[in-house]
Symmetry: C2
Subunit: 192 residues, 2 copies
DNA sequence: TGATTTCATTGACTATTATCAACGTATTTT
DNA sequence: AAAATACGTTGATAATAGTCAATGAAATCA
């Protein structure tokens, strides 16, 4: 049932069967159909979601209605409005399903009980957020120092599976480009 | 001696005097003169540095010799090449002192012993990196969705103290702009 | 203190990408 | 199955920031 979830955990730290049983007891499952929201701006984000199946994105919408994609999540990834989750403040972005999804959810209260009962889970959690921090740092470096061509190439190198499953205009938004520009970059690249 | 350091810790979680004594015993101090390196590209980053006094920056240098500022750190902040620190791989960026600095250092081995002896310190560490992650997320949003004017204004709003202490061309680099562009933005803003 | 280097500003020019609009195709909805 | 919507591509144009170069001021160094 929770195979992928524990596979990911055990890649970083090994958990015993008992520990896994304790953790499991705090998880709930949720299915989302394509285009459904997991979270809407203004709601408080009550859970962190682990993706068992499907694809989601987190995005904000500015005054002019322009969408900015902050994050994608595929199988094995985690997605949440972490600021809202941590503070209880209303969310500043939306999370919705790009494909039909199966998720595992954990609430803040549940997470804290698991931290208390299975300290290794807090270590895992620290390592997980550290990894997310480092990935984000790479993204900033890519935004600051690469040409648009390199930025796109770098992206499809790191996330080949995203490019195949996500509409191009969302990728453009993630990269800070217009859809037209991504289309032209692809054209240039395919000409070579 | 370690006043500022424990002040920062206690803002998030309170530590007893004993706990603070244990943690202290794992810290070392280091002074840096302006322009000295804390870390050079290619070295393994052995420590995380807490800034007691002064200002530093982390930056990478590309093939053309262009510097890209990834991070600033002032009093009370933490700075490190976390990827190198975590993995033991050679650092991909430099850290140097913008002003004379006084630092507290903790090695990876020391950190792990402290995690074992004072579990709360791991909780603190998780919260600290989570905060850094969220700050970085805001920076990405600023890079993706704000006009250059707004980006500069947003920066001086969040970090007024950095603008006063750091050369303008480093701020420009942090914002992904040329020094000329920042100069023109400032001119435009002062005209209003 | 005088010399040297670093830094910020300004102007002229160029390259690049966003914007706007139109079109054809694919996908979704009813 | 037909209609409506969403998506990607292409072209023309405009706006914007980068590049290059020169200057003066400030900070650093010897």
């Amino acid at each position: 049932m929770y195979d992928l979830f524990f596979q990911k955990l055990n890649e970083k730290i090994s958990f015993t069967a008992e520990e896994q049983a304790i953790i499991s007891s705090y998880l709930t499952t949720k299915k989302l159909r394509k285009k459904q929201y997991l979270l809407q701006e203004g709601d408080v984000c009550k859970t962190i979601a682990f993706v068992q199946k499907g694809a989601l994105r987190a995005y904000s919408v500015n005054e002019k209605g322009v969408e900015n994609v902050l994050q994608f999540a595929l199988e094995g990834w985690i997605i949440s409005d972490l600021y809202s989750f941590m503070t209880g403040e209303p969310a500043t972005y939306y999370i919705d399903a790009i494909e039909d999804c199966e998720l595992l959810l954990i609430t803040k209260a549940a997470q804290e009980e698991v931290f208390a009962k299975v300290p290794k889970y807090e270590t895992y959690s620290r390592m997980q957020i550290t990894g997310a921090y480092l990935a984000m740092q790479k993204r900033i470096t890519s935004l600051l120092s690469l040409s648009l061509n390199e930025r796109y190439l770098n992206f499809i190198n790191i996330y080949p599976n995203i490019v195949q499953r996500v509409p191009q205009h969302m990728v453009a938004s993630y990269l800070g480009l217009t859809p037209e520009t991504v289309s032209r970059i692809r054209k240039r690249l395919s000409a070579k």
